[in-house]
């Protein structure tokens, strides 16, 4: 039944995505983006009216749920043929006549194919869930920033819908900038906190670098192909010709301009999806409220780069170096972010680096010609990373902003945190690639393809290593925070509603007073083992009614309420169920084995070029029998080290590596832990010398950027400042002086301004006429 549902009907399609007829779809599809826009507008109204209730949240949840329902309807009603739905004419510029006729057309219209549906399903679905979560999470700010938060949240969904559903690059760019703007607004939500503002600016500026690439790419697409509409572009005869050439490895026939397009587009993708070297903004973006981190900076917006490359996959196929570059950048990012993640202490930052790392996997997947794997990993990652973030958010919410894994321990045993613990465990298992979890399957898809692709096996090994590191740092968080002895210190934010009335985030000095001594509730000293549970309840019974000392020094973590728990349970279930997608939804006609494959195979991300044509490490054109179109493995290939079918082998290899990582984390952070703070890790870390220190400081990349990019800019700006002061201001003053000097010359005996003006006008006119006639005499004489 579910399998039926997952199989998109009527798959009587050719292998060539471009030859599909692009018809017009039902106009109710427009509801998907515009309901979200309506939500943003309504929140604006709430803000204007000064609504002091949770009405904004319920409005947004309802509208986003309706939007999700419309997306599901769009999916169920999809018959395999892409269609467009036009909202209104937007940019239609035509010029020239006859054969010289050309046009620049970008309507406000939406393009629906399986890729769109695939992306929109999880975007709107997760947005609905996270809006529900945020309704409780943001309750501190009801009446102050609540409407603003949900307005930006809803606007984000609208922008994301424009990005994913737009039928042309201009719409995509609009959405691209729109999500960037909303991201900026939401990272800087606590706009009175300097670090949040700095992070928002950093995200915005770093993204601009990528956006420049995207804009130039779009410009080149228009210049080269004469259209920015997807349907027209992918049906373009020129592009088809290039793809034919690429299929036989004849890249020399493809003009350099066409090959430059994917290189520019990928810069945009790297910026938005936080890939090396533009990843630095994402960890800082965690300054935003956690629901935002979960939705925008983990599940949806950051996958826009993956979407962009998947959408323009045919363009990437026309360059022999584009996909290898994508693969390598993805791999480097995955590894680098994983090493940084190992040494961080802020659990939200660890999750941020793991997001960067997992996005690296997706790019590597795109690069090694498995957009299917990338898309599947995007989906599973969206679920489990959103889950992980929301769990972190629940912790942060409950422990007054505490995120340091050294100051939290044993939450498993604290009453009311059961669902958070379960959710966290499921999320961590997924992220670590524990066998039979969704993350395991989706990661394997990418890893296996890396070993299949000739010349990419180094990528495969690096990704395997990263998988091990990922498992380690994931469970480092889990063992540290949720297992072990109960111990917690409150964070620096106010935790009680009565302290919160006047927006506690706004005034840093405001909460210093009642949280100045972090209160430790560590159960008796080291003698108590990690498995000590018997006295837990008693311990709490003893401590929770405040002793007679000053009441405000007692800290009560408040357990998540129903909205947070409901969302966590749903996401936990979804993360578990997502592994099922690996087994259902395959389609024989398309030679696909599972749902993601089916969806990708019908979209523009489907490809038709053998692997061996791409310049991985310069190994050119190695014949690889059995690698057919669409990545279908007709004959089993062999793993470089073990031999056998890489897809099957990978189940074992990656499973073992994941388990090793988990075991290492267990040994270093749980089994060897005597107290909450002390553990074997410190001794191990010492063996590596300064390396862990470097990793903790993120390999000094920020400092490097500061030195290499910012310092020269600062110097240049100082120079420009002086230039401005001396030369420009001088010129300006000169210009300011000039009319006066001229006027002084022209009016030697003036008694009032009026005569002066008249003299200036007549004198000016006379001089002008003279000058013009002199010019004309010179030019006209020659002509």
């Amino acid at each position: 039944m579910i399998a039926d549902l997952l199989t998109t009907p009527a798959l009587s399609m050719s292998t060539d995505a471009a030859s599909l007829s692009v018809g017009t779809g039902p106009s109710w599809v427009l509801l998907i983006p515009f309901l979200a826009l309506l939500g943003a507008a309504l929140c604006g109204v709430y803000a204007a009216l000064g609504v002091k209730t949770k009405a904004p949240a319920w409005t947004i949840v309802a509208l986003l749920a309706a939007s999700f329902a419309a997306t599901v309807a769009m999916w169920l009603g999809f018959d395999g043929n892409p269609y467009t739905v036009k909202a209104f004419d937007w940019i239609q510029v035509r010029w020239g006549e006859g054969t010289g006729a050309a046009a620049f057309i970008a309507n406000f219209s939406f393009y629906v194919d399986t890729l769109t549906i695939y992306w929109m399903l999880f975007v709107t679905g997760l947005a609905t869930l996270i809006a529900l979560y945020a309704s409780e999470y943001m309750s501190h700010d009801v009446g102050t920033g609540y409407s603003r938060f949900f307005a930006a949240f809803s606007l984000f969904v609208f922008s994301m819908a424009c990005l994913v559903m737009g039928d042309n690059f201009i719409m995509l760019y609009l959405g691209w900038e729109g999500v960037g703007l909303c991201s900026y607004l939401l990272i800087g939500y606590f706009y009175k906190k300097p670090s949040a503002v700095a992070a928002a600016k950093k995200a915005f500026i770093v993204n601009r670098i990528g956006d420049l690439g995207l804009a130039l790419g779009i410009y080149l697409i228009f210049v080269h192909f004469g259209t920015v509409e997807f349907a027209a572009l992918f049906a373009d005869a020129k592009l088809q010709g290039y793809l034919e050439a690429a299929k036989v490895g004849n890249f020399d026939d493809i003009p350099a301009m066409a090959k430059a397009i994917p290189l520019l587009l990928m810069v945009g993708a790297f910026g938005k999806s936080a890939q090396f070297p533009l990843y630095v903004w994402l960890p800082d973006a965690m300054e935003g409220p956690t629901p935002v981190s979960a939705l925008i900076h983990a599940a949806t917006m950051v996958t826009a780069g993956v979407y962009l490359i998947a959408r323009t996959y045919p363009l990437f196929l026309t360059s022999e170096i584009a996909l290898p570059i994508v693969a390598w950048i993805g791999t480097i990012t995955a590894l680098l972010a994983a090493t940084i993640g190992m040494a961080q202490f802020d659990i939200k930052r660890i999750m941020a680096y793991s997001t960067v790392s997992q996005l690296g996997y997706m790019f590597a997947g795109l690069g090694v010609l498995t957009p299917t794997g990338a898309a599947y990993h995007t989906l599973t990652h969206a679920f489990f990373k959103a889950l992980l973030f929301l769990c972190c958010g629940a912790v942060m919410h409950g422990f007054a902003g505490q995120l340091d894994l050294r100051k939290l321990s044993g939450l498993r045993k604290v009453p009311g945190w059961r669902w958070v613990t379960i959710g966290m465990l499921v999320g961590c298992l997924n992220l670590a690639g524990f066998p039979i979890t969704a993350g395991y399957f989706s990661k394997d898809t990418i890893l296996a393809e890396a070993f299949v692709t000739p010349g990419a096996s180094v990528i495969g090994f690096l990704l395997l290593l990263t998988a091990g590191l990922t498992a380690y740092y994931t469970f480092r968080v889990f063992f540290r925070v949720f297992m072990g002895p109960v111990h917690y210190e409150a964070g620096e934010e106010g935790h009680d509603h009565e302290h919160h009335d006047d927006h506690a985030h706004d005034t840093p000095g405001h909460h210093g007073d009642h949280e100045s001594e972090p209160h430790s509730v560590e159960s008796e000293p080291a003698s108590q083992g990690p498995e000590h549970t018997s006295s837990e309840e008693k311990h709490f019974a003893k401590h929770s009614p405040a002793p007679d000392k000053a009441k405000q020094h007692e800290f009560h973590p408040h357990a998540p309420g129903w909205a947070i728990n409901a969302v966590l349970i749903t996401l936990t279930a979804l993360s578990v169920l997502a592994s099922g997608l690996y087994f259902v939804g395959g389609n024989k006609d398309l030679h696909t084995k599972h749902y993601a494959g089916t969806m990708i195979a019908q979209s523009t991300a489907a490809y038709d070029t053998p692997y061996d044509k791409y310049a991985f490490k310069g190994e050119h054109a190695v014949a690889q029998p059995g690698v057919g179109p669409r990545g279908v493995i007709a004959e089993p290939l062999t793993m470089p080290i073990i031999g056998g079918d890489p897809h099957k082998m990978m189940y074992f290899v990656s499973g073992v590596i994941g388990l090793v990582g988990i075991a290492l984390a267990w040994w270093l952070h749980l089994a060897g832990r005597t107290t909450a703070a002390e553990c074997r890790m410190d001794k191990v870390a010492r063996m590596f010398g300064p390396i862990p220190k470097w990793a903790e400081h993120k390999w000094y990349v920020d400092e490097f950027y500061h030195a290499v990019f910012r310092m020269p800019l600062v110097i240049v700006s100082h120079l420009s400042h002086w230039f401005d002061k001396l030369v420009i201001d001088g010129l300006v003053n000169l210009f300011g002086l000039l009319p006066r000097v001229l006027g002084g010359l022209i009016r030697p005996s003036q008694s009032g301004a009026l005569q002066g003006y008249a003299a200036g006008m007549i004198g000016g006119a006379a001089v002008l006429l003279l000058v013009v006639l002199l010019i004309a005499a010179r030019i006209g004489g020659a002509a």
Binding site: V93, F735, L754, M761, A765, L768, A776
Partner: protein, 512 residues
């Protein structure tokens, strides 16, 4: 002859409205006086309706009439709410206290009547096909504005501005009238298409050339281009903001349409690049100087109204680029058609500029309007709707993509490039960058800087704030409609010089 009435229906309607307004504006019954602006609005709406149905005129630009007159009507409607409370403030307050209404002391009737007269003149400029008509129409546009400047405020500054404006305006009018007589002397006709045909056949000749150049220099007064720009800052600052807002649009539009006709009579040649060298040189030099002088002097101002006056000068310089580029021959796209770009830009500029002045007019302290940049500091926080209107309009004026000013400027730039005036376009680009400095200063003052209590409160004439919001909204709405408006401007700029034998009234013109 009577057929000619068909194209002046909007003017007739406006004139009739003026006659009514002149009487109701000084009616002893308060309710009737209050109705005056509404009557003016009704007249304007009717005129827009008539303008849209207008047949082609006999002029050089047969299809200019519907676009230009609708534009005039719409801008008139947008300026109208801003005019509330400009005159008769104390008088009406006295009447409200129970004093007797004295028609002699009231200026409301004149003020609205002059406003409508000026718009009538502006519409007549669009439909003019002879030099005499053109001259009278230009004067009808200008004369009421001199008085509006003087009436607009009780301060001596306004009186000084009015007098300056009047004398310098008369000087400008004398100059272009002299140019017109030379044109008549060179061709023996006052009919503009006939003049164009004559020039096309016999060449410009020395007298004709002098006529064209001198007419243009005189008309530069209307658009506030160098060297006829001196009056602008004094007058804009002296007049009340609502009137300044009107001055930035009405004479400029009249001037540009007249320049179209004079330059059009000299002709761009069949391929659109053959503007006679001295004419092109004049326009080129003036365009470059106007933009530069306007922008550079605007940088130094601390009075927003003076700044906007200099920016108005600079914008005229931008638009002259479109005039130089010309209509671009048959079947040219919008990107080549400089005249269409100018027509579109006039609309954009009118709306954007109105917004800034409307915000200034909406803020008052003891009956005084805001003017200094300090007066609007932190406006986004103190009065968000006004502040945001200011931000939107300033960014649009700056040509911030993708706002309205940007789209307008793109047309000017592309037409400049495609007609081969790259150097001028580079000057334009540099000037846009200079302009960014002072527009961003305004935006920064309004948006970034902390609010300080300057004592300025929103005017009790709420319709002024409505005008500000409508302008800011207009900037956004026009942006969405820009596609259609560009097409309309493109159609309106059809340049159709006719052969001498088919030119209507050729005989009559020659015999005059």
């Amino acid at each position: 002859m009577i057929e000619k009435l068909a194209i002046v229906w909007p003017e007739i309607i406006l004139f009739a409205t003026t006659c009514v307004v002149m009487l109701t504006g000084q009616w002893p019954v308060c309710a009737v006086r209050r109705m005056t602006p509404w009557l003016a609005a009704v007249g304007l709406i009717a005129a827009i309706g008539a303008a849209m149905a207008s047949p082609p005129s006999d002029g050089l630009y047969p299809d200019l009439v519907p676009y230009a007159k609708s534009l005039v009507g719409i801008m008139g409607l947008m300026i109208l709410p801003l005019l509330a409370g400009t005159v008769d403030r104390e008088l009406e307050a006295g009447v409200a206290r129970g004093e007797r209404f004295e028609p002699l002391r009231s200026n409301g009737a004149e003020f609205y009547a002059f406003f409508l007269f000026s718009l009538t003149g502006l519409m007549l400029v669009a439909s003019s096909d002879t030099l005499i008509w053109l001259f009278l129409a230009l004067e009808l546009t200008s004369l009421p504005t001199y008085m509006m400047v003087t009436l607009s405020s009780r301060s001596t500054r306004a009186h000084e501005a009015g007098v300056k404006y009047f004398f310098l305006g008369a000087l400008g009018a004398a100059i272009f009238l002299y140019g017109f007589t030379l044109l008549y002397g060179a061709t023996g006709s006052v009919n503009i298409p006939t003049i164009a045909a004559h020039f096309a056949e016999h060449g410009l000749g020395p007298i004709g050339l002098a006529g064209v150049l001198i007419s243009l220099i005189g008309l530069f007064f209307k658009i506030a281009a160098v060297p006829m720009h001196f009056y602008t800052p004094d007058v804009y600052q002296g007049a009340a903001s609502p009137v300044s807002a009107m001055l930035a649009f009405v004479p400029k539009m009249a001037g540009f349409m007249a320049i179209f006709m004079i330059v059009g009579s000299a002709g761009w040649g069949p391929d659109g690049t053959g503007l006679p060298v001295p004419v092109e040189a004049l326009l080129w030099v003036v365009a470059a100087m106007t933009m530069t002088v306007g922008n550079v002097l605007a940088l130094l101002q601390s009075s927003v109204k003076r700044m906007m006056a200099y920016s108005s000068i600079a914008h005229s310089g931008y638009m002259l680029v479109g005039v130089i580029a010309g209509p671009g021959g048959d079947g040219a796209s919008f990107w080549r058609n400089g005249l269409a770009a100018v027509l579109f830009y006039l609309l954009c500029y009118g709306v954007m500029n109105l917004g800034v002045f409307a915000v200034l007019a909406s803020l008052e302290r003891k009956g005084q309007e805001a003017d200094d940049i300090d007066d609007i500091r932190g406006l986004v926080r103190t009065h968000p709707p006004l502040g945001w209107s200011m931000v939107i309009c300033c960014l649009a004026l700056l040509g911030f993509p993708p706002l309205l000013g940007f789209i307008g400027k793109v047309g000017l730039i592309t037409s400049g490039i495609t007609s081969g005036h790259l150097a001028l376009v580079i000057i334009l680009a540099i000037n846009s960058a200079i302009a960014a400095l002072y527009y961003l200063r305004l935006v920064a003052a309004v948006y970034l800087e902390p609010a300080s209590d300057t004592g300025f409160r929103p005017s009790r004439y709420g319709s002024r704030q409505v005008a500000a919001l409508v302008s800011a909204g207009g900037v956004l709405v026009l942006l969405l409609m820009s596609n259609r408006l560009i097409t309309a401007a493109d159609d309106a700029s059809r340049y159709a010089p006719v052969a001498p034998e088919t030119a209507p009234y050729a005989e009559a013109g020659a015999n005059n």
